[in-house]
C-alpha cells in the first residue's frame, strides 16, 4: 500500500502539517483519494470505514500526550475527493490532532477535497485540533476545499480548534457545527486569507446545551484583491452558559466581506456577546512601522502576518 512521495507531496505535507518524513505514533496520510500510509499506536486505532470512504479514529480513555496526524494531499487534477473521518475520543484524554489538506493543481481542471470531520469528545477530555488548508500549482484549475466539522463535547470536555486557510484555495465553503454538554468548553479559531478572485464562506452553529458550557469564536480574516468572504457564526445558548463571538476582518483592494455574527438565547442565564469589525489597515500602523525602517510594503505584510498569527 505504500506509495512513494514526490518532492511536491513532501512540500505539501510540510506546509499543512509541518511534517518532514513520516511522523511518529498514529497517523494516516491520504493522497489523491487513496491511502499512502497508516499507523496505529497502542492507544489510538485507525481503521477504514466500511460504508463510506474515510476512517474511524478511536482513542482509548485516558490517552495523554499523543498526537495524531491525518493530512490529505491532492495532486491529481479533475479529482473530487470526499472523505469522512470520525474521531471517538475516550474520557480523560489529552490529545492533539493535526489535519489539513494541500492541493497542488497544475492543470485547467478543478481539484476538490471535501473532508467531513466528526469529533465525539468524552467526559473531561482535552483535545487540540489544528487544520490547515493550502493550495498551490501553476494551473488555472480551481482548488476547492469544502470542510465540514462536527464537534460533540460531553460534560467537562475541552476542545480547541484552529482552522487556517492562507492562500491558494479558489473556493471554500466551511461548515462547523458543535454541541456542548455541561461545563464543556470550545474555542474556535478561524483564520482566512483570500486573494485574487477567491471566495470563502464560513458557517458556524454552536449549541450550548449544558449548564456552565462556554464557547469562544475568534475569526480573523484578510480579504485581498477581488476576493469575497462571508461569515455566518451563530451561537445558541440553551442553558446557563457563556458565548463570545468575535469577527475581525481586514479588507483590501476591491474585496468584499460580509460578517453576520448571530446569537440566540433560550435561557435567561445565557450570556452571549458578539463583536464584528471590518476595516482597512490603519494608516498610523503603517507609518509607525515605516519610522522603524520598514518600507510601506514590508509594513503592510508585517501587519497582516501578525493579524493572522
Amino acid at each position: 500500500m505504500a506509495v512513494d512521495l514526490s518532492p511536491i507531496d513532501e512540500g505539501l505535507l510540510a506546509e499543512i502539517a509541518n511534517l518532514h518524513g513520516m511522523p511518529k505514533g498514529a497517523f494516516n496520510i491520504r493522497k489523491d483519494g487513496e491511502l499512502v500510509e497508516r499507523h496505529s499506536s497502542a492507544f489510538i486505532e485507525i481503521s477504514t470505514k466500511t460504508d463510506v470512504p474515510g476512517i474511524d479514529i478511536r482513542i482509548a480513555p485516558g490517552t495523554k500526550g499523543e498526537t495524531v496526524y491525518i493530512p490529505v494531499i491532492v495532486t491529481q487534477s479533475g479529482l473530487k475527493d470526499v472523505v469522512y473521518n470520525t474521531f471517538y475520543i475516550g474520557e480523560d484524554c489529552d490529545v492533539k490532532i493535526v489535519a489539513g489538506c494541500g492541493i497542488h493543481n497544475h492543470s485547467d481542471q478543478a481539484s476538490e477535497h471535501d473532508g467531513i470531520h466528526s469529533f465525539y469528545c468524552g467526559k473531561n477530555s482535552r483535545v487540540v485540533y489544528v487544520e490547515k488548508h493550502y493550495g498551490e500549482g501553476e494551473g488555472t484549475g480551481e482548488r476547492i476545499l469544502n470542510p465540514t466539522t462536527n464537534v460533540y463535547l460531553e460534560e467537562g470536555a475541552y476542545c480547541e480548534m484552529e482552522m487556517v486557510q492562507l492562500r491558494g484555495v479558489t473556493s471554500t465553503v466551511r461548515d462547523t457545527n458543535a454541541e456542548l454538554g455541561a461545563d464543556a468548553k470550545l474555542v474556535l479559531v478561524e483564520k482566512l486569507l483570500t486573494h485574487d478572485r477567491q471566495t470563502a464562506e464560513s458557517n458556524m452553529k454552536v449549541e450550548l446545551k449544558g449548564e456552565g458550557s462556554s464557547v469562544q469564536v475568534i475569526s480573523r480574516s484578510v480579504a485581498q484583491d477581488d476576493s469575497v468572504q462571508v461569515f455566518n457564526p451563530l451561537v445558541i445558548g440553551e442553558a446557563a452558559c457563556r458565548g463570545h463571538v468575535q469577527c475581525d476582518a481586514i479588507i483590501m483592494g476591491n474585496a468584499k466581506v460580509k460578517a453576520i455574527p448571530g446569537i440566540e438565547a433560550a435561557s435567561e442565564d445565557a450570556m452571549l456577546v458578539h463583536e464584528a469589525a471590518i476595516g482597512k489597515i490603519a494608516g498610523d500602523q503603517i507609518v509607525k512601522l515605516m519610522t522603524l525602517g520598514l518600507t510601506e510594503e514590508e509594513a503592510e505584510q508585517e501587519i497582516l502576518e501578525d493579524f493572522l498569527n
Binding site: 480573523r220 498610523d284 519610522t291 522603524l292 525602517g293 493579524f307 498569527n309
Partner: protein
C-alpha cells in the same frame, strides 16, 4: 547634526484656497550630543515640526539637512534608516503583534529576552509578561505609550524625537522615564534627543530649550536662562498675556517624587 532652513508648512483653510501657516519660516540647528526640549503653547506647531523632521509631513518650502545630507524629499523609511527615530504622542496599536515582535522590528534584529526586559524596565514596565502581550486594546493608554518609548530605546537612533513622552504616564513611571532620558544624555555617545514637552523636570534636563509659538522659534536658551521666563509666562505675567496655555498643562507645580 540636524539643520532646518526656512521651513514652511501650510495647510488649506477655508473654501477660497486660503492657507493656514503652521510652521512659519523656521530655522533651527540641533547639534550632536545635544538634549533639546521643544516647548510652547498648544497649537504652536511642535508636533508638526517633529513630523516634518521624520518625514510624516512634507514641508511647503524650506530645507531639512541631516548630517549635511538634504533629506527634505526623502520618505519616512529612508530617514529612519539614516538614523532618525520618532516616538508618537498617540501610538498605534497592532492586533496580533506581541510587544517582543515590535521591539525586534524596532531593533532590526531578534533581541534576546534579557535585552527586551531591560528596555521595558527603562520605561517602568517591570514584568517580563509584557513581552508576550499583544500591542492591542488590551493594554492601557499608559502601557502602550511606554512600549512606544521602549521601541525607540530598542531602535537607538542617532536622533530620537519624542512627542510628549510624559502624556498619559503615571508619576511613578514618569520618574523612571526621566532617569532614562538623563542616562541616555549622560552617555553622550553622539546621539541627540529632541523631546517635545511641557514637563518642568524634563525641561530642566535640557542643554537647550526651544520655545515655539505660532510656528516660529521665539526664544532659545539654557534652562537657567529660560525657566524663569516660562514660569512667569505660566502665571500670566509676561508680555504675551499667558500664551503658554494653562498652568495644568505646564505642570510647573512641584511633582511629588517620593511615591
Amino acid at each position: 547634526m540636524l539643520e532646518l532652513k526656512n521651513l514652511v508648512f501650510e495647510v488649506p483653510s477655508g473654501p477660497d484656497g486660503d492657507v493656514k501657516r503652521i510652521i512659519d519660516d523656521l530655522s533651527l540647528s540641533i547639534g550632536d550630543d545635544r538634549f533639546t526640549v521643544i516647548t510652547g503653547p498648544n497649537g504652536g506647531g511642535k508636533s508638526t515640526l517633529a513630523k516634518l523632521i521624520m518625514g510624516i509631513e512634507t514641508p511647503t518650502s524650506g530645507q531639512i539637512l541631516f548630517d549635511g545630507q538634504d533629506i527634505t524629499a526623502l520618505p519616512i523609511t529612508e530617514r529612519a534608516r539614516l538614523g532618525i527615530g520618532y516616538g508618537f504622542q498617540q501610538p498605534a496599536r497592532f492586533k496580533g503583534m506581541t510587544v517582543k515582535k515590535l521591539l525586534d522590528i524596532a531593533a532590526g534584529r531578534k533581541l534576546p529576552m534579557l535585552a527586551c526586559n531591560e528596555y521595558l524596565a527603562k520605561v517602568g514596565l517591570c514584568s517580563a509578561s509584557y513581552l508576550t502581550r499583544e500591542v492591542d486594546k488590551s493594554l492601557s493608554g499608559g502601557e502602550v505609550k511606554r512600549i512606544e518609548i521602549a521601541t525607540i530605546l530598542a531602535r537607538d537612533p542617532k536622533l530620537a524625537i519624542y512627542d510628549e513622552p510624559e502624556a498619559g504616564i503615571d508619576l511613578w513611571s514618569f520618574d523612571r522615564l526621566t532617569e532614562t532620558f538623563r542616562d541616555i544624555h549622560a552617555a553622550r555617545d553622539g546621539r541627540s534627543i529632541v523631546i517635545i514637552s511641557h514637563q518642568e523636570r524634563i525641561i530642566q534636563l535640557a542643554d537647550e530649550i526651544v520655545l515655539l509659538r505660532n510656528g516660529q522659534v521665539v526664544e532659545t536658551g539654557t534652562p537657567e536662562e529660560l525657566m524663569p521666563k516660562l514660569g512667569f509666562a505660566a502665571r500670566g505675567l509676561d508680555d504675551y498675556g499667558c500664551p503658554l496655555s494653562t498652568p495644568t498643562e505646564l505642570h510647573l507645580t512641584e511633582i511629588p517624587t517620593t511615591c
